[in-house]
């Protein structure tokens, strides 16, 4: 009996000892996350790579090996190339808006003023709302018949002026009143870019505010003593200190926007005349709706190299921000 108890005690002590080891404990703690990622991301990703080299069709999850045919076939299609171009336009365009917007808003929101909490709440709200629901709201705003945007422009007597301006800058010649935000290619590109920016902005603002809060007060004091104010302070003090964290926000925004499916799918379904397709929606149209699974997988993988570079950048700058 005593021997058994001693053996049991020894085993328990063994476990306790093992759990005290950083190597074992670290593996145990991180294992669920790793297993989850492997199952949910890794396996489908490897499968997608495999499918992209096959002629698999809807539901089969396997097919004959076709080498790079799917990639070549996709590249020869001008709709694919347009989708690739649009992915970059939406991503870069929206991030430019986000960068400026987040810098301005964060600068404003770190100050003390009455009603600050409600302004912060309103700024963060788009991030909290489900993407699909908020995009449907935007669909109503840009509706072909009941557009709130057009109603507002008409009430302000700006609709005709805007149509003239769009023609004058060669952005959308031949547009009519009321403007069809989702029916003209350039207007639709603009509308989608705005929705993406609106969606990502709160996240960037929060990151920017956190970045500003992390700047030691000693640095602020020192810059004041040295006479750095206004633009000089912004250029020589604020921007260099915030840059790493700002880049993290932008890189996250790039990933969120480039890989987004819902906004384009809900707003335009890729129209008008496939002028607003992006890689995720085009991959879906080919791979899921049309059943060409292999080709759809190949289309979706075109984004992979870009996202790898961005992800490496994110990790690099996140680490740098942490160190500084």
């Amino acid at each position: 009996m005593e021997a058994q108890a001693a053996r049991a005690g020894s085993r328990g002590s063994h476990w306790r000892h093992a759990l005290e080891s950083r190597r074992v404990l670290a593996i145990l703690l991180i294992a669920p996350a790793v297993v989850f990622m492997v199952l949910v991301v890794g396996v489908p990703f490897v499968w997608a790579i495999y499918l992209s080299f096959t002629d698999a069709i809807g539901g089969s999850l396997s097919g004959n090996w076709v080498g790079f045919d799917n990639f070549a076939s996709a590249w020869q299609d001008d709709n694919f190339r347009r989708a690739l171009r649009n992915t970059f336009i939406f991503t870069l365009g929206s991030q430019a808006i986000v960068l400026v917007g987040a810098a301005v808003l964060s600068n404003f929101l770190v100050r003390d003023f009455r009603g600050k909490w409600i302004v912060r709440f309103l700024v963060v709200l788009p991030w909290a709302a489900p993407v699909v629901l908020s995009t449907i709201t935007w669909l109503w705003l840009f509706d072909s018949l009941y557009s709130v945007a057009n109603w507002t422009l008409a009430r302000l007597h700006l609709d005709n002026a805007l149509v003239w301006l769009l023609g004058a800058v060669n952005l959308e010649e031949g547009a009519q009143v009321p403007l069809q935000w989702l029916g003209r290619p350039n207007l639709a590109l603009l509308a989608i870019t705005v929705v993406h920016a609106w969606r990502i902005l709160p996240f960037a603002v929060v990151i920017f505010i956190a970045g500003r809060a992390s700047i030691p007060t000693e640095v602020e004091d020192a810059s004041k003593i040295d006479g750095a104010t206004g633009v000089k302070k912004l250029w020589y003090v604020d921007i260099p200190l915030q840059l790493p964290i700002a880049l993290v926000a932008v890189l996250f925004g790039i990933v969120f926007t480039a890989a987004d499916f819902g906004v384009v799918y809900i707003l335009t379904h890729g129209g008008p005349f496939n002028a607003t397709q992006v890689l995720p929606t085009w991959a879906y149209a080919i791979g899921i709706d049309s059943g060409s699974l292999g080709e759809g997988a190949a289309i979706s993988l075109f984004l992979f190299p870009l996202l790898v570079v961005v992800s490496i950048g994110m990790l690099f700058f996140a680490r740098r921000a942490q160190v500084s």
């Binding site: 539901g59 129209g271 496939n274």
Partner: protein, 471 residues
């Protein structure tokens, strides 16, 4: 064919095709007898006639949320319940938005799990390798009800595999719906596309433009392919080869593109490029449009909303005639697939047969939306269907009668004169037809350039599916 026999006469099953039809007839009889009664009558059934041969288990069905909501209520709460009780099968029907049917179907196939019976709004030819062929069921129903309509046959039959991969459940004609008063006021006729080309500016001038979609949505696909037929610009031939870039097809397609460009530039607005499938309904019901092409959901919505002035002024007509013919696509082609992984294939097979053998109640409950693929399923065929349509009480009296003519003479399948193949499926799902028309309408391409670009894409799609052995 062997696959079908395997499915129908498995050693473990006592169900033969004969049994299937006999019991289908019995089930249909039961439903036809009691289907029209109120829900209170649901509990009444006599002794089961095939007590030792009953089906068993569960049957799960995925279908769309019908444009006529009352039909779904009747289907779920009356028809399905009665059919289930008569066959000792627990039936569960799920409804989803029609735009989600394909992606949901793809998800079920990928998971090899889901519903036993899956209803698609258009012929799901890309899924045919995942479904059991239903050739035997089609043949047996044909023996009972007579020939299947051409539109249903060409939508569900694959001449390459010589199999019916899907069971046609319904099709909806696609009439023109127009405001009688506006057309009278402007003196515009809808007899030919040329009439509409000339009349469209007059309609736009009175503030009620024409509404023919050129957007990334299904209605635009259907309408614009129909316009191509009318001008003899066929995408594929009877052997399902892409021919739109050749000879008379190319000339016809170019002319069709010019007509639509003219109608847009003089008689429509930009809104037609931004539409969803519901947009032309909304614009017509809002009183804006003078002409639209859609299933009868527009007219029915006006009636259901109690908008008497609009309803009484909404008339139906056949698609305008072109230089080549008067012909339009179906608006909806409801097709059931029985997945290979379905757990209760026998019940699924019996359900579709039962439903078809007596379709009259489905036709009536859908407000003439659901036309039967076998006209013999309504005793008297098109003659009876015409009489039923004529009896609709809404004004103008008899306005739905034209539906029968459209269904009988002027309705075909996407891909006419060939079959609805995976090639047509992909052309539709990637919206290449609205793309071609819209680019010409907005001046981004000439008709000849647009046809050439379309032909290149269509031939590439054709080669892909030919390599799969499906065309």
């Amino acid at each position: 064919m062997a696959d079908v026999v395997d499915e129908l006469v498995r050693p473990s099953s006592t169900l033969t095709r004969g049994d299937l039809l006999r019991r289908g007839a019995a089930g249909a009889f039961a439903v036809s007898m009691f289907g029209g009664l109120t829900d209170k009558a649901l509990g009444f059934y006599g002794p089961l006639r095939f007590a030792k041969k009953q089906l068993a288990g569960d049957l799960s069905i995925m279908t769309w949320a019908h444009f006529v909501p009352a039909y779904d209520q009747w289907l779920d709460n009356t028809y399905v319940k009665q059919w289930g009780e008569a066959n000792d099968v627990q039936v569960k029907v799920d409804h989803i938005n029609n735009a989600l049917l394909y992606s949901r179907g793809a998800a079920e196939v990928a998971a090899q799990s889901g519903h036993d019976l899956f209803w698609f709004i258009s012929p799901p030819s890309t899924f045919q390798k995942q479904a059991i062929p239903v050739t035997d069921l089609v043949q047996e129903v044909g023996k009972k009800l007579g020939p299947m309509t051409g539109v249903a046959r060409k939508s569900t039959y694959n001449p390459k595999t010589k199999q019916f991969y899907g069971f046609p459940e319904t099709y909806a004609p696609d009439p023109v719906q127009y405001r009688k008063s506006f057309l009278e006021q402007t003196g515009v006729s809808l007899n030919t596309w040329e009439d509409l080309r000339k009349g469209a500016p007059k309609l736009k001038a009175i503030g009620h433009p024409v509404g023919l979609g050129m957007s990334n949505e299904i209605d635009s696909n259907m309408l614009l392919t129909s316009l191509l037929y009318c001008y003899g610009g066929f995408i594929q031939n009877e052997e399902n080869r892409i021919v739109i870039g050749q000879g008379s097809n190319r000339r016809g397609a170019i002319e069709a593109l010019r007509v639509m460009r003219d109608i847009y530039q003089n008689g429509m607005s930009d809104e037609v490029f931004a539409w969803t499938a519901a947009s032309n309904n909304q614009a017509f019901l809002a009183g804006r449009l003078s002409v639209a092409l859609n299933a009868i959901s527009i007219a029915r919505s006006a009636e259901n909303q109690g908008n008497v002035a609009l309803s009484d002024d909404t008339w139906l007509a056949s698609i305008p005639r072109g230089p080549a013919m008067r012909l339009g696509n179906e608006h909806v082609m409801g097709v059931y697939l029985i997945w290979k992984f379905a757990k209760n294939k026998e019940a699924a097979q019996k359900y579709v047969v039962d439903q078809m053998i007596n379709y009259r109640e489905h036709f009536l409950r859908s407000g003439y939306y659901n036309f039967p693929p076998w006209t013999g399923s309504i005793k008297g065929g098109f003659k009876t269907i015409r009489q039923l349509c004529a009896q609709d009480p809404h004004k103008p009296k008899g306005k739905y009668t034209i539906l029968t003519t459209i269904a009988e003479k002027y309705t075909t399948n996407p891909g006419h004169p060939g079959n609805t193949t995976p090639v047509m499926d992909e052309i539709y799902n990637t919206f290449l037809i609205p793309q071609m028309f819209a680019q010409v309408a907005q001046g981004k391409a000439t008709p000849a350039e647009a046809i050439s670009a379309f032909t290149t894409k269509a031939q590439s799609i054709y080669r892909k599916w030919r390599n799969q052995g499906l065309v």
